[in-house]
Amino acid sequence: MVESRRYRNIVAYLVLLVGVVIVAFPVYLAILASTFDAATIINGNMPLIPGDQADENYYRTIFVGASSSTREPVGTMMLNSFIMAMGIAVGKILISILSAFAVVYFRFPLRMTAFWVIFITLMLPVEVRIYPTYKIVADLGLLDTYTGLILPLIASATGTLLFRQFFMTIPDELLEASKIDGAGAFRFFKDTLIPLSITTMAALFVIQFIYGWNQYLWPLLITTKSSMQTIVIGIKKMITTQDALTEWQIAMTTAVLAMVPPVLVVIFMQRLFVKGLVETEK
């Protein structure tokens, strides 16, 4: 018994190890590449231990920009991406929690119709409705603005559904107890629903932040000024240059930098998840 368990453990660890290597190696390569100069990368014999160009590369990427493709330093791009991702995440949480509150706790005419209309938008992601959305955003004069980047991506049903499902699990007696305790609809929302939804909000925040951060098609369409570029577009532009060699060390440094905020969000929010979980365990 003991023998076979040890054997099974070894197999399990081997499988996991292979998985980790497959996932982690490209990331490691990107980090490696950000520590060499262009010549070392291009000659095709990049060593597997970090080089000595890291300071230079990161300084140039963040504050100066790639010389041949775009003059925009990555600092600006990251700020743009950050504003967009935050705007989408926060905006979506606000809109979803309010609409879910309305759908679950208020009896108004066409309530279920409203819910189904929201639900149907699930089948219409930005890519599908991109032309009409572009037209509207353009007509409103929102091209090359943060509002234009954020607003169309907030409108979708995932968050509303998530909060609706969560609100349905809250016992009715809690609402009734609040009523008897003299709390109106808004107080119930503020004092009971929001504190209970914190972990749901955190989950939605993580998903939406990363969704916003990784947007490619929409920012590509509506931003023309390089000062409004997001980092995902920036990487793409660095790789496809017309007349010059791709500055791979800068592109890779940018890619590494682009990974940092989502990773931070996940790490930070994971602590919130765990906190929520631990509290329910108590």
């Binding site: 009523k179 008897i180 509290e279």
Partner: protein, 359 residues
């Protein structure tokens, strides 16, 4: 402090389902009223209408002198204890109790005074800072009651508050609720399906069935003189035995050819007409006695309850149960002669199921 008056209160749900069919009831100031009945009898709906959590389809509900039909739950001056306690999971015990007062704009020091006072009465002072999930069922129950007490309402409403507790704790909390209600003197309405809770807690017992009141009275009234067959078989454990019988004459009925004398029997019942004879398992004795009627019973099996034994069998072809102190009747008895005290016989009309006692 205030009484509660219900006048032909009705509740009709969508689809014309009538859950409460015109209930009229007066609950005196400071009394403990228990609504009891099987599930689906409308008792909880009635309570929720008094609380204001359900709209009232017809009739009026008065708390004190005020008709409250159109008044919000928060303004009815009531407090409610729910079956699952409905404590706010994210608030500490203190905040749970203080929340209702805060919403009413009660000054902070007054809130603190009242919460501390309630916590002292309920012996929950030591965990005021804890969250509800860190408490046991009995402690949560106390917090739920604390939340009701701090408000100093006119009326307490209890919706099966002990159903989620284990049997031992239930007995203990039952006693505490009674003691607390006595001490505070607040009018209380308590809904339960447990007839033991109903009997022990109430000053006024209301037995409901099918959205209507079957009988209102003190627990001993309801036990001694059940007005319908439903009440007779619902109150009392094990339930009353009902035997098919025949009217023989004034004060006399027969069951399977065996004569039974009855003290409480309506005059003018036609001899030969069918009648139902109710006998409580604890009211029949083994053996014969002077002035008592006799019935023979075939015993099928015996249930041991410790202090008492239940003899299950048949009398005149109908199921019959006798409760006797352990050792009074040998457990291997196959046939029993039972003596019936004429004052312990209850008669019911087989058609209307109403009691056929003296008017």
């Amino acid at each position: 402090m205030a009484g509660v008056t219900l006048d032909t209160v009705r509740k009709v749900y969508a689809g014309n389902v009538e859950a409460v069919k015109g209930v009229s009831l007066g609950i005196e100031d400071g009394s403990f009223c228990v609504l009891v009945g099987p599930s689906g009898c409308g008792k909880s709906t009635l309570l929720r209408m008094i609380a204001g959590l359900e709209t009232i389809s017809g009739g009026t509900v008065k708390i004190g002198d005020r008709v409250v039909n159109q008044i919000e739950p928060a303004d009815r001056d009531i407090a409610m204890v729910f079956q699952n306690y409905a404590l706010y999971p994210h608030m500490s015990v203190y905040d749970n109790m203080a929340y209702g007062l805060k919403n009413r704009g009660t000054p902070k020091d007054e809130i603190e005074k009242r919460v501390k006072e309630a916590a002292r009465i309920l012996a929950i002072e030591s965990f005021l800072e804890r969250k509800p999930r860190a408490l046991s069922g009995g402690q949560r129950q106390r917090v739920a009651m604390g939340r009701a007490i701090v408000r100093k309402p006119q009326v307490f409403l209890f919706d099966e508050p002990l159903s989620n507790l284990d049997a031992k704790l239930r007995v203990q909390m039952r006693v505490e609720i009674k003691r607390l209600q006595r001490a505070l003197g607040v009018t209380s309405i308590y809904v339960t399906h447990d007839q033991v809770e109903a009997m022990t807690l109430s000053d006024k017992l209301v037995v409901m069935s099918g959205g209507q009141i079957e009988q209102v009275g003190t627990p001993s009234d309801v036990y001694r003189r059940p007005e319908t067959r439903f009440v007779a078989t619902f109150i009392g454990s094990p339930p009353m035995n009902i035997l098919p019988g025949k009217v023989e004459g004034p004060g006399r009925v027969s069951v399977g050819g065996q004569m039974i004398q009855v003290t409480d029997m309506r005059d003018g019942l036609a001899p030969g007409s069918a009648i139902e004879v109710g006998l409580r398992p604890e009211d029949v004795q083994a053996g014969t006695g002077a002035g008592f009627s006799a019935l023979t019973m075939d015993v099928d099996f015996v249930e041991e309850l410790g202090a008492t034994q239940l003899f299950h069998g048949k009398v005149a072809g109908a199921e019959f149960v006798v409760q006797a102190s352990t050792g009074q009747i040998p457990a291997d008895t196959r046939s029993l002669t039972l003596s019936i005290d004429p004052s312990n016989v209850h008669l019911f009309d087989p058609q209307t199921t109403k009691r056929l006692g003296r008017v």
